[in-house]
Symmetry: C2
Subunit: 253 residues, 2 copies
DNA sequence: GCGTGGCGTGTGGTCTGACCATTGGAGGCT
DNA sequence: AGCCTCCAATGGTCAGACCACACGCCACGC
């Protein structure tokens, strides 16, 4: 319409770039669309790579790139071979994907450690409350076990490993999949950072003793089914740990 | 040692599979290692794909697969061309990566919606508290804006969009990067689900009115710098929304 | 009949090379 | 100095070849 183009010549015309969709993103979108439409569920098999490439009219490399992304998210899993186990199948394994994503960004100092602590507090308060409200024996036994392992640990490596397991066990005992996975992902992504902080610290044994006392109190509150107390103790514990252990060896001073 | 093999013949020997590392995972590990060691930071340029492939002695396709994964996580960004803008650069854009990961798993019903609600409550309580404690005017104006947009919305699509923006604005006002990104990711990944619930609901206007009243009260509590009240109101609001709107059209009856 | 081994096929994993599109940067000309 | 052209570097995509894996089927021996 040359007429309207002339009428609007007083306001500058903005020529926006037309985004080009990358082939692998088109594949990603296509798979996501199938999921959203309910046509793909956990356990389902995707078409073979070569077939999917043919159907979507892209190269097999582009299909593979999309599949890699979804594998890293824990939504797909590929298996070579023939027969029932072969191919690319929809899975439900978000935890490691979350962990790796968060660990990368924490490693890049993209989340200030104070921010991470607050997020932990929010999530782990919820975990502890829910665990105190509704955990049953096999899950409580896992918490016991982690506490026991910390008791017997002789190196900070062992302590740290069991410390992580303790927090993960509480998160699992919360009976809330998303809270558990987020809690696990954050705590796991911090494992190395916390270990380094232990090594930097002058008197690790004192700190470990205090941390372990706090663990015992948290454990007792959960055992006594006191949600409020559990939540408060977890918060206190995380704040103490974050204030006491010098974290952020690089990029955070 | 045939001698010791004979001695231990009483206990069955377990032949464990030797895991083969996939080429793209080796590349991923190599990049993560550089980050952990502090040798890669936001803004840094990676070697060109062909060079990285040569250095790591893998194919360029494997390098690309690893880069795709890290791109989807918001840790890398690639740009064609020559000169300063070209190549693959380290970025700090976790939010969309989190959103897509969570949206995929929510789409696959891998997280029960009750679980998602509890996680939202944990995070959004924290967001609201922090916002009430420390938000300043430009951020508060964003919250105002979203509330205003909801007030003027004439379709549930518009309402939903502004509703999401309201929650995101509070999360941003919390001043906590990780809490904000997690909150945003979860709320964003639910946008479609909530919209469908609005459509399924018999009398949308009533519900919208109640939701909007709740939004106003949350907004007021934040403005009055009352963290406890803000947190309680957010929790009440999310519980009301989750109980009132019929979610889980597929796979969650 | 049962167990074992060999073969064939389908699938993902990896590599190579060719080509394309994009995006400066350098050099030459006015 | 400004503009234009050319070139090179970089990521994007594709195709094809080959490899490794993992069954399933069939034949053979006991």
């Amino acid at each position: 319409m040359p007429d309207s183009a002339e009428k609007s010549s007083r306001t500058p015309i903005s020529w926006d770039p037309i985004p080009r969709s990358r082939a692998h993103e088109l594949v990603l979108d296509a798979i996501e669309e199938q999921v959203t439409a309910g046509r793909l569920a956990v356990g389902d098999l995707l078409p073979p790579e070569r077939e999917l490439a043919s159907q979507l009219q892209v190269s097999r490399a582009s299909v593979r790139e999309a599949i890699r992304i979804l594998e890293s998210q824990g939504a797909l899993q590929s298996q070579v071979g023939s027969g029932r186990s072969a191919g690319t199948r929809v899975t439900a394994l978000p935890s490691e994907g979350l962990t790796r994503l968060l660990r990368m960004h924490i490693g890049l100092s993209n989340f200030p450690l104070d921010d991470v602590a607050e997020a932990r507090i929010a999530l782990e308060r919820a975990s502890a409350m829910l665990a105190a409200q509704q955990a049953e024996e096999p899950q409580l036994a896992e918490i016991d076990q982690a506490l026991e392992t910390m008791e017997r640990s002789s190196t900070v490596e062992e302590f740290n490993e069991a410390d992580t397991a303790f927090h993960v066990a509480i998160a699992e005992a919360a009976g809330n999949r998303l809270v558990a996975d987020l809690t696990t992902a954050i705590r796991s992504s911090l494992k190395q950072t916390i270990l380094e902080a232990f090594h930097s610290h002058g008197t690790p044994s004192e700190v470990q003793i205090t941390l372990q006392e706090q663990h015992h109190r948290i454990h007792a509150a959960i055992r006594e089914q006191d949600p409020q107390r559990s939540a408060e103790l977890v918060e206190e514990h995380i704040r103490f740990a974050m204030e006491t252990l010098p974290m952020g060896g690089h990029g955070e001073c």
